[in-house]
Symmetry: none
Subunit: 194 residues, 4 copies
DNA sequence: CATGAATGAGTATTCATTCAT
DNA sequence: AATGAATGAATACTCATTCAT
């Protein structure tokens, strides 16, 4: 048990080091040796947990993405109304992106870069299903515009990524009032007009 | 004259090769030798036009960003109404992102990655001023929601980047109808409610 | 223990390869890859033992210089008379320069070239102190001319470098008789006239 | 004539640039492009005057060496006594080494380095003949010790190189008094004992 | 499991030299 | 004669990965 825990700790240390370093220096300037050093293990040890650098970054991506979606849907319940459900999910996502910004930055970099395997990318997308289901329900009920999921995501969720990056660069600080405005904008762009 | 043109051609070939290769393989997997080969010059020749790899990618970024904004505002005129002006600019931006998708992909990668110097990033932002001026006018006239520029950008412009990337990955194809929907969503997220 | 010895062996092999190659081809024509090959290690291995090429050559200089002075004073004893002491040291130096000529050649090249860091040069000079002390004693006793240490070195020790180089170029062969003449010349140039 | 003069000027500028740069940075850190820049010509122009880098440095060596010997013997006359002749030559050499120290430094670097062709080295030695003749005379007359020319050079002339280098490094300043001491040491090391 | 040492294959960059003008 | 642009062949150095311990 203790041994297993130590293993998990090491794996986590490696994942976290990868996130930190890739965030700050970029994938191209993040050598395995630096990751090892930050995780306080030998470079060789990385290869006990991951096949190679590509695998390390793929697995990191999947893990972070999975944390992200778990967080997003943690307080959501399918019995909620579409409107309420969307608000609940949106706010959790906003929370994650702005508070766990290191993780969110890492995802943003992965999503805009040929740095992740296509397969891992697909794997990462899967977990968004509850949101897509909610939207399907919303469209059927005439509450949500009959747009493709990509379009809905582009206008209601993705802007949060941009705001998160901007905030991380120090250009802007998002407080409660602005978050409300953001939600308002998100909702008004996808809710069906009466 | 002919010599000058040859120089310009070579520089352009290098810039284009950089865009192509960074788009497909990522900055980390784009060696100078490959760029040189694609541009049909010797590796050493790159250093006649750029100081080093970082400078090459910085200059490429600034050039592409500058083309992007020039394209965005080419048909815009300050005498237009806010509503018309926004539509004109938005459609040009959409055009650029979806048709010149290689350039747009390159910008997206640069904007989400520590691959560009902060200085070059700032340089790239400058040219967006006409849009910010338009928004200022719209806010004064009560036509546009009184949101920060970052917020307006996040909801009305940035979603196009997400749609562009998604289309480039083959997940979706944006036709005229969907572009209209996108514009509708963009506009409704920033226009002031009556 | 064995591992440590292997490390020391490798470091020594690198130092020796550096001496050999710099002697024969000059610093400018001695690539790291050649040094590695001669030391039977990979080029990358050099960087486990030295920071870079400059560091390798600095450290080599300091090591050789240190061997040189250790050799020079090995049989000297401060209780000796000035005359005897000088003879003992001079003969050891002559021995070193003429027998360990590869090392002596390397030092000569370093001493006449901007190939070594100033800091390493200073480090190398330090160890000559016993000779300077001997001269101080000699001057006090009126046995040695009241000249600066540089002057004494120039006339009594440095000529050996010239002779060593000339011998190495094959122009001359120094046998016992000529060594005696050389010592005679050295001594007569610095001993106080009665 | 004017055209010829311009050519000579360029050649001289190249030679001087070579001396300066090799003195300050070392042969290994002196690229042709830098030499060209300092001489205010194009890199390609160097090849109109010299075959290649090796040739440039060989020719520079021969030229400097030749200036050196011309200077050394300029005021010497074979009708002088051995003692007077030696003093005259020695003082001119000292003058050259300490006043034209850039040239002297360059020679010292060449003489202790495999940076010059053997052939050019031989060519450079030739011009010392008058000194050797003087010594031959001195030995016959019993005024000079019956030592080989190398030995005489090592003790009476070469120390000046060491003193010149030391002075150039700033460790010591040779004034008139010290020059007299140096001459005294030089002479006493080679003059025959009565 | 864990590691530090070792490395081969690469990478950015430089440089002596050439060539079209 | 003179040049600036161009380049192929190096070169110092890095890094993902392996292996003996």
């Amino acid at each position: 048990m203790a041994a297993l825990q130590k293993s998990i700790d090491k794996r986590n240390a490696l994942i976290n080091a990868t996130i930190d370093l890739v965030n700050n220096d970029g994938f191209h300037a993040t050598p395995m040796s630096k990751i090892a050093k930050m995780a306080c293990v030998s470079p060789a040890t990385i290869y006990l947990y991951f096949e190679n650098k590509q695998d390390l970054v793929n697995k990191t991506y999947i893990e972070v993405k999975s944390n992200y979606t778990a967080y997003a849907f943690a307080t959501y319940d399918e019995s909620m109304s579409v409107e309420k459900g969307f608000e609940v999910i949106w706010k959790r996502i906003a929370d994650f992106k702005l508070k766990e910004s290191a993780h969110a930055m890492f995802l943003a970099q992965c999503d805009n870069t040929p740095m992740i395997d296509e397969e891992s990318r697909q794997e990462g997308i899967k977990h968004l299903q509850p949101l897509l289901d909610l939207w399907a329900r919303g469209k059927k009920e005439g509450i949500i515009k009959p747009l493709s999921d990509y379009m809905l995501y582009a206008y209601s969720i993705n802007p949060l990524s941009f705001l998160m990056i901007t905030q991380n660069r120090g250009s802007v600080k998002l407080d409660a009032k602005e978050l409300d405005q953001a939600f308002e904008a998100a909702w008004s762009s996808i809710k069906a007009c009466k």
